[in-house]
Amino acid sequence: MIRKSLLSVLGLTGASAAHADWALNMPKGITELSAETYDLHMMVFWWCVAIGIVVFGVMIFSLFKHRKSVGAEPASFSHSTTAEVLWTAIPCVILLIMAVPAAETMIRLEDSRDPDVSIVVTGYQWKWHYKYQDEGVEFYSSLALPSVEARPKQSGVDPFSVENYLLEVDRPLVVPRGKKVRLLMTSNDVNHAWYVPELAIKKDAIPGIINEAWFRAEETGTFRGQCAELCGKDHGYMPIVVEVVEADAYQAWVDTRKAGDAQVAQMEK
């Protein structure tokens, strides 16, 4: 509720168009590294297309030309050292061309030093818990009610009538734009994985282990993901929603959350 009213004041509500309706390709995402990952993905993809055109081209040509029904006479060669050296060496070179930028991106992905915001993400069967380390804000984030009502067998609710079916939560993760956010992942029970395509983050949340991931969002908006490691019967029902807001809105959100938490604590006493 607090989030809804606050964000609507700031004009940031509603589903974003971040998830296009008919996505065919990996999203470019909203961080430098997600764009780099996308570029790597496209580079390898185009190499595959190029190699495919050559290999399949030769093969299809042969299938038409060298068939018995058009009178082809079989040759009898079975070796060609030149060809074999070439088709071992050329792939090695291509692989090297791919490996270098991939390694560079990998190195940057792992550099989670000096974060502005640190959040401990804990997986539970079947929801997420977020704890902002420096702000003292923490909360659970579970599948939103409309989806909960629509998901059972014979619920009578058409999934198409539910906005962001299975991809909406009651309380999203709110983060500031342009700041380095570090996520510390762990789990309370079984393995989970925190996956948001637009942030190019997928990291396993494993009991007894703390994994790190980081991102610096360059755009505001709502970005959705899901648990990506099989974690039991409701594995498909623990989505992730990240709201990226401007720094001042983030600060306002933190303050409201804190005040809200204090109020709740007061009431509980």
Partner: protein
Amino acid sequence: MTTAVADSHEAHEDHGPAKGLTRWLFTTNHKDIGTMYLIFSLVMFFVGGAMALIIRSELATPGLQFVHPEFFNQMTTVHALVMVFGAVMPAFVGLANWMIPMMIGAPDMALPRMNNWSFWILPVAFGMLISTLFMPGGAPASGWTMYPPLVLQTGDAFPFLIFSVHLMGLSSIMGAINIIVTILNMRAPDMWLLKMPMFVWTWLITAYLLIAVMPVLAGAVTMLLTDQFFGTSFFLAAGGGDPVMFQHIFWFFGHPEVYIMILPAFGVVSEIIPTFSRKPLFGHDSMVYAASCIAFLSFIVWAHHMFTVGMPLSGQLFFMFATMLIAVPTGVKIFNWVATMWRGAMTFETPMLFSLAFVFLFTIGGFSGLMLAVAPADIQYHDTYFVVAHFHYVLVPGSIFALMAGAYYWLPKWTGHMYNETAGKWHFWLSTIFVNLTFFPMHFLGLAGMPRRIPDYSTQFTDFNTMASVGAIGFGVSQLIFVYVLLTAKKGAHATDRVWEAPRGLEWTVPSPAPYHTFDTPPKLRVAQESFE
């Protein structure tokens, strides 16, 4: 040559098959055992296929239609275990049993009684696994990868899962020992190693992989068992254990395992393409080296399945480079097949059609494999439908198509009759169309961010899922044509000894159908090959 075999066969007429059920129960004959393996794997193919159709029906549209999430997870788990250990692996062992002795000129497998054991363990193992569907708590639902801690939440099925995996491993190890001993000791006297047919070579390498990694799997699941029942904490963080260690051990088995499922397939198509191109296999020796290279590399790439578990940077880089390297020998194989066809005189009987589709579609799976090898990109692809698309491309139009190709290729040798070629062609074209309709859209789903192993999904994933489900049902129904071909296999014209126009192995020197005992006296490879000129 042929007459020598026929003579020795006559002399042993009293050694024909026993009558009735005991023939199958007690048989030590490699052909009988091969047949049982093949039939068993076909049954498992349909059992696993039925589960796949339950999965695809549920996923045809968003919302839960037919099953509950618990049962959905049981289906994905048991489907994979049945297909991997019950369909693909035993089918290749079946081909090995039937064909390796006949291809190397041996009278039987080296260890016939153990051969009987290796087979009869399998129905027990799978009876046990499938019976867990009816146990309290249901079948295992943790995925075929059995990651702890989740797998430890399995109900009564848990020990049955572990023991059935033990039995499957036992069967595989015994089968592998048998194959190695047979190949190394029982070849025709003038068949030195590099003269062995490609199918024999790839199986030799595969058998070594099996012996190396099945005990590792057995160890991993045994540790699960003791964690569950005997108070150990190998994988339990609370007791000082490490859940990630299981993944390392599992994939140390798991990655060689995927090559166990594809190397014999390489062997099969390497037999078929030369026959129907009427040209010798291009670069036989370099194919052998490439396969050995793949086998070696398969031991040092396992953690490419674990780029998201939080490995040190150096580890990620190592596994990325090593994985990319596998593409080189794999490429060599593909180039060699294409070079074999080049300037041949091809005809397109069903075995050749399946082999050609294998080369095309396995290559597509190889491409997605290369994409997955690139670690930063894999972080995006991992555990999405992109991975599902990748491994189904290498396993269905890869391994399964090679098995189909092999079955059509050698069927006349087994039955003595030509199969129904029209039905075979229908089987091929429908399978090929539907397999692509099923698995190609999954690439898009994965890239758009749909995780694997979920029973329900957000509405923007609907169209491609519906497509995949239609394809899956079509593919399933098309396989009934294969059953029809098998049921009518003895109705066709009599097959000649050589069956096809230009095959060259020793198996084509014995009569069709192959007599119960072949090569009681070892043949001479050179004599056989001269007889083909």
